[in-house]
Amino acid sequence: MTRTNDIILRTTTTLIAFILLGFSIYLFFAGHNAPGGGFIGGLMTSAAIILMYMAYGIQAMEKILPINFRQIIPVGLIIAAATGIGGMIFNAPFLTQTFAYFQLPILGKTELATALLFDLGVYLAVVGVTMTIILTIANDRG
């Protein structure tokens, strides 16, 4: 079987995947004050990764991105659960969130909330679940 030459697909993918990843991170951080958040950010990241999978194939991607996506799910869950437990340590009810203002180098005065950590957990869980579903089905050749 001869392989088709998909140079146009691969070249554009490198560019588009980069933009997609950037946009997904923007969406993830925008969630507090604008539409966005962990869920849509995670979906967008998985979309970028899947685009790369489609252009480069599974073998190449496993070399570039040696991540077991199935293990990402419990990592996300434990982060989300830990933000809830964090509230309990400070003697507040479960899942109590807090925030503070910090002077960051480039961004200036920024509001950092623990809700962001919860969102990070959601983000990782969504990426893990989506990638696991798609890669499991895609790998199924039996």
Partner: protein, 494 residues
């Protein structure tokens, strides 16, 4: 501190996540899960005692006040059921290594298991209807995972039915919550209960109440909606069947009990008399199923249905006595269904078949298993010193007090038929001619399987023999249930 209320949900959740990280190291996961389950049980037992002594614990999650945030209400009813859930979880986690293959264990069995426990505990503890839906989904998702675990042909077929019917009823659940939200403007149970009394259009609320009943009755397998239950419950591994039979339908019964004593108690004449008729039909059709088959697993699975009928009967009669009967029966039935599914699983395992016509004389090889089964049958049917008796006695007393003679007669008759259906397994399977030990290589494992079931059964016997210790607690729960103002005040703090 009120954070205690979240522990029964949080601990299994964290345990499930931790176990997911190391799912390939089977021995480690197995032992760690046992430790987690026992620790869980001890902590929940401690929280239960705390609630029993100090009264209801209300946790406003994320520090948001009651009607606006999510509340977890750890009252005595919820904590009793959570404690029972954890007792069954401990027995099942010790039974699991005997009946599961190593491959099945490594495919996230313990993660699904802990998620199921977490979902069930959450459904018992939540004080918010939409959260009840979410926890229903958590436990259903885990049960979807468990039902197909092992990859059998029958499992695949039955899981499709199971998933379809549960998706349909969940969809209806969301729709019904939307209806209730548009009428009363809240999904917090306490505030909904308060506002239901103020709404002028009572007709629409009755419609919503019946829709809720339809949803929960599908989950709990009440008469016209039980057709999905028996076969999906017997196709997975015995330990999964035990978890399902002990926990899942009871969450539906609990939801009916909670919503129809707290929120929808305005049109008792219509809704609760409907319950009585449906309870009678549930009992009749359940026992007919149980005596119609020769598959021992199916007999036990069909026996879930009349038990749901008994509990529904207590809710339908709606007096303090009958509600206490329902609660006692609920606790008793969770434990005994766990025992029966474990025992019947072990029996089918050692006999190499679940067809009653193909087994005989097992008592010569497995005396412990046989006598445990005999005892469990007596407990299930409600023979006096055991726990089934006290629940049924209270239900029948309640029924006679309200002069519901029909349901009392049906209940007594179906008890007899339940005993018949169970003792048939004992007589045909365990008595009879001694035959060669059917599958010799399974002898050792089969004997080990009896141990967790025996521990659960001891508890069940204790629940009956020591009824004097347990009954005052049950009675105070039933007084509490019959007076929804206490619940509303403890949540809304007015």
């Amino acid at each position: 501190m009120s954070n205690l209320t979240v522990l029964p949900i949080l601990l299994p959740l964290v345990a499930g996540i931790i176990v997911a990280f190391i799912h390939k190291k089977t021995t480690l996961t197995r032992n760690l899960s046992k430790v987690f389950a026992v620790v869980n049980f001890l902590i929940v037992g401690w929280v239960f005692l705390h609630v029993k002594n100090q009264g209801t614990l209300v946790l406003e999650m994320g520090s948001w006040e009651a009607p606006f945030g999510i509340v977890l209400v750890g009252d005595l009813l919820a904590m009793t059921l959570v404690l029972t859930t954890n007792i069954i979880a401990v027995a099942c986690v010790f039974f699991a290594p005997q009946s599961l293959t190593e491959k099945e264990e490594s495919f996230y069995f313990y993660t699904f298991f802990f998620m199921l426990i977490s979902g069930v505990s959450g459904a018992f503890l939540t004080g918010d209807l939409f959260n009840l839906f979410v926890f229903f989904e958590v436990l259903l998702m885990a049960s979807y995972g468990l039902i197909v675990l092992g990859n059998g042909k029958a499992q695949l077929r039955e899981s499709i039915k199971y998933v379809l019917i549960n998706l349909f009823s969940s969809m209806l659940f969301v729709t019904t919550i939307a209806f209730l939200y548009s009428v009363v403007g809240t999904v917090n149970m306490a505030q909904a209960a308060q506002r239901v009394q103020e709404v002028e259009q009572q007709g629409v609320l009755t419609t919503i109440a019946i829709l809720f009943f339809f949803v929960f009755a599908t989950k709990a397998a009440v008469f016209p909606l039980y057709y999905w239950l028996p076969r999906p419950y017997i196709s997975p591994n015995p330990v999964v069947s035990a978890l399902f039979g002990a926990l899942l339908t009871k969450v539906g019964v609990y939801s009916i009990l909670r919503t129809f004593t707290l929120i929808f108690n305005h049109e008792v004449g219509l809704t609760h008399s409907l319950f009585i008729y449906l309870a009678a039909l549930t009992m009749i059709f359940g026992v007919i199923g149980a005596i119609s088959t020769n598959n021992i697993k199916l007999i036990v699975a069909y026996n879930i249905i009349p038990a749901v009928g008994f509990m529904l009967m207590g809710i339908g009669i709606f007096t303090e006595v009958s509600i206490s009967g329902t609660i006692y029966y609920l606790v008793h039935d969770m434990i005994i269904k766990g025992v029966l599914f474990l025992l019947v699983g072990a029996t089918a395992y050692v006999a190499g078949t679940s067809d009653l016509r193909k087994m005989s004389g097992l008592i010569h090889h497995y005396p412990v298993l046989g006598w445990l089964f005999f005892l469990a049958s007596l407990v299930l049917a409600g023979i006096p010193p055991f726990s089934g008796f006290i629940g049924k006695l209270q239900l029948i007393r309640g029924g006679l007090g309200e002069e519901e003679i029909m349901i009392v007669l049906v209940a007594l008759l179906s008890s007899l038929l339940i005993l018949f259906s169970m003792i048939r397994i004992f007589i045909r399977g365990y008595w009879g001619d001694k035959i060669e030990i059917p599958v010799p290589e399974r002898e050792k494992k089969g004997k080990k399987m009896a141990l967790p079931a025996a521990a659960l059964l001891t508890l069940s016997v204790l629940l009956g023999v020591g009824a004097e210790w347990f009954f005052p607690t049950i009675q105070s729960i039933s007084q509490y249930i019959m007076d929804p103002e206490i619940y509303i005040d403890s949540v809304l703090k007015e």
